[in-house]
């Protein structure tokens, strides 16, 4: 038994051939403030021989806002993107933004479980003149799932040759990637699957590139992103807590996988410094920027100049140009 398990472990580095070419749903943030995430995700995909085909005529998933006007409209908006994915002949769509990923997953769940959502989706789809999305047709995955399943740690370790060696990283996943658990049926499924209470996919990927992940208790804490503007003082307080905790854990970098979290951390890091005089030095980088540089891409190629807490000097010192 023990022997079998070892053998399985050695060969279980997952490489999902179906993911070599997937539909890509960037979402609004990646065309705006999250531009560096868009750029670095595409660059990493290219470097690893993975093809991303942008969903044709995609629309906003509803983000954190539309559900507060009407939750079923948000379900419809997300489902429309799944219809568009299906129309292109794809059965997997990759969304790097936590908000998009969460909403597409939630639409999938609601359309399979909530009659009111089904009714609204059918009604609005009919009026808009396209077929209503039927659950089960398209699988939504996150950029973390994508790299983990299509490439895997072994291949990444080989390709990166430990370029992030010695870099102390706090991996920050935020809220939307793991909560609430019922919309993520693929998580918490034992060995190899992602955990909703202690997510580790980003840790795994960065560790395979040589990074030293610090023990960070606020992986899934909230940055207040939903109210980054409407309740800025609360957001600053929440973000400051995350930044100071990361520093206390010995992190030099906070790795992010969501444009809302990333921007919220950046904005409120500066706001805390300007308004509260609380300066923190931890750098905030998308995990795709870190992986891209580990794969030998330049700072420019992964859009580091767009990061607010300028990490260029720090990265140079680490040998990442």
């Amino acid at each position: 038994m023990a022997k079998d398990m070892t053998e399985q472990d050695l060969t279980s580095d997952p490489k999902d051939k179906n993911l070599k070419q997937v539909a890509y749903y960037p979402g609004c943030a990646l065309e705006g403030t999250g531009h560096a995430y868009n750029r670095s995700t595409k660059a990493v995909g290219k470097a690893l021989g993975l093809e991303l085909v942008e969903v044709k005529d995609w629309n906003c998933c509803g983000a954190m806002e539309v559900k507060n006007i009407d939750p079923q409209v948000q379900t419809y908006l997300s489902a429309r993107n799944l219809t568009k994915t299906e129309e292109m002949g794809f059965d997997v769509v990759m969304a790097p933004c936590n908000g998009c990923y969460h909403n597409l997953k939630k639409a999938e769940y609601d359309l399979a479980h909530n009659p009111q959502a089904v009714e609204a989706n059918e009604r609005i789809s009919a009026k808009a003149g396209h077929p209503a999305y039927q659950p089960g047709r398209v699988e939504t995955i996150h950029a973390l799932d994508w790299l983990k399943r299509a490439v895997g740690e072994k291949e990444l370790a080989r390709r990166t040759a430990g370029k992030l060696k010695g870099m102390k990283i706090a991996n920050y996943y935020g809220c939307m990637y793991t909560r609430p658990r019922h919309i993520f049926p693929d998580k918490d499924q034992g060995a190899g699957s992602e955990s909703t209470h202690a997510p580790h996919f980003m840790d795994d990927l960065l560790a395979s590139a040589g990074a030293e992940n610090v023990d960070f208790p606020l992986k899934t804490a909230c940055c207040g992103g939903a109210h980054a503007m409407s309740d800025a003082d609360t957001s600053t307080q929440l973000v400051l807590n995350i930044l100071t905790t990361a520093e206390a854990c010995g992190a030099e970098v906070i790795a992010t996988e969501c444009p809302t979290c990333h921007t919220s951390l950046e904005i409120h890091q500066l706001r805390a410094e300007k308004l509260l005089g609380r300066k923190t030095n931890v750098k905030i980088l998308y995990f795709t920027q870190l992986l891209g540089m580990a794969l030998g891409l330049s700072q420019r190629k992964v859009g580091v100049a767009e990061n607010m807490a300028d990490p260029r000097v720090y990265l140079k010192e680490r040998g990442l140009r």
């Binding site: 609004c28 943030a29 065309e31 705006g32 403030t33 531009h35 005529d57 995609w58 629309n59 906003c60 509803g62 983000a63 954190m64 806002e65 539309v66 559900k67 507060n68 006007i69 009407d70 939750p71 079923q72 409209v73 419809y76 908006l77 429309r80 609204a120 009604r123 609005i124 009026k127 808009a128 003149g129 809220c175 939307m176 793991t178 909560r179 609430p180 658990r181 909703t196 804490a221 909230c222 207040g224 992103g225 939903a226 109210h227 503007m229 409407s230 309740d231 800025a232 609360t234 307080q237 929440l238 904005i267 500066l270 706001r271 300007k274 308004l275 100049a305 767009e306 607010m308 300028d310």
Partner: protein, 248 residues
């Protein structure tokens, strides 16, 4: 359930006398503090049904007051007065006056979903908080919260174009809330960023701001969504006895 008794020991409900003797017993001073008796007659018996009629409030009746929501709550850690478990209790009891004491903070729920993750009864407390905040607005107990103004501006942009342009959403938000077009800290931040960004990136930013992204083939979709929202908001207004006033 003894939970609401905390309201009895608020300062205004406590009485102590410097010198008081009752039936020969000295009850002066702090050690003989009295709690004022209270009789509740103003239950709002419609409150739970009304909040349950708003999107997200549907499962409020399932709550058995375990407190997992408050225990896991991001906002409760920032402000102990932010107490979803207690508010759900008040709504289910119909203790409107008591709920209104917290009317100006309920909208601050950041939708982190920790409560929904922790809830053993599938109440979806996060959605109940949103329904409660909407109920307060619809009933006129509060004005439109900053969060609602933001949500409305955002949704208008999506319905119109299929996509949002972040700069536009922000400008609308600042304009509608009467704030300067960008608060000083945000202006400093933007200027700092502009100084170091590559020219092509600035060009792209400017282009998006002028050309405003739009989903191709959006066509009738926006109108279809508007129709749906109008119908739903009319239903909700009717459920709250607000017919004729329209949606929020």
């Amino acid at each position: 359930m003894p939970i609401h008794e905390k309201t009895l020991i608020r300062p205004e409900n406590l009485v102590s006398h410097d010198e008081l003797v009752i039936d020969g017993v000295d009850v002066s001073g702090h050690w003989s503090t009295f709690i004022k008796p209270r009789t509740i007659t103003d239950y709002n018996e419609e409150m739970q049904a009304e909040i349950a009629a708003l999107p997200g409030g549907e499962n409020i009746h399932r709550c058995w007051q375990c407190g997992s929501c408050t225990n896991s709550c991001t906002m409760n850690a920032v402000n102990p007065e932010f107490n979803p478990r207690y508010w759900i209790y008040l709504i289910r009891q119909g203790l409107e006056e008591e709920l209104l004491r917290d009317k100006d903070i309920i909208w601050q729920c950041v939708s982190c979903n920790k409560c929904t993750y922790a809830c053993p009864r599938d109440v979806v407390p996060e959605a109940v908080m949103k329904a409660t905040a909407h109920w307060l607005e619809l009933k006129g107990h509060t004005g439109e919260s900053l969060s609602s103004v933001f949500d409305r501006g955002f949704t208008d942009n999506v319905v119109h174009s299929g996509k949002i342009e972040e700069g536009h959403v922000l400008r609308i938000f600042f304009w509608r809330t009467g704030q300067p077009l960008a608060p000083p800290w945000l202006r400093d931040l933007i200027l700092g960023l502009v100084k170091k960004l590559p020219v092509f990136y600035l060009y792209n930013l400017l282009k998006t701001a002028v050309l405003r992204p739009k989903t191709r083939g959006w066509g009738k979709t926006g109108a279809a969504i508007e129709d749906y929202v109008r119908e739903r908001h009319a239903e909700q207004a009717a459920a709250l006895g607000l017919s004729g006033k329209g949606g929020h």
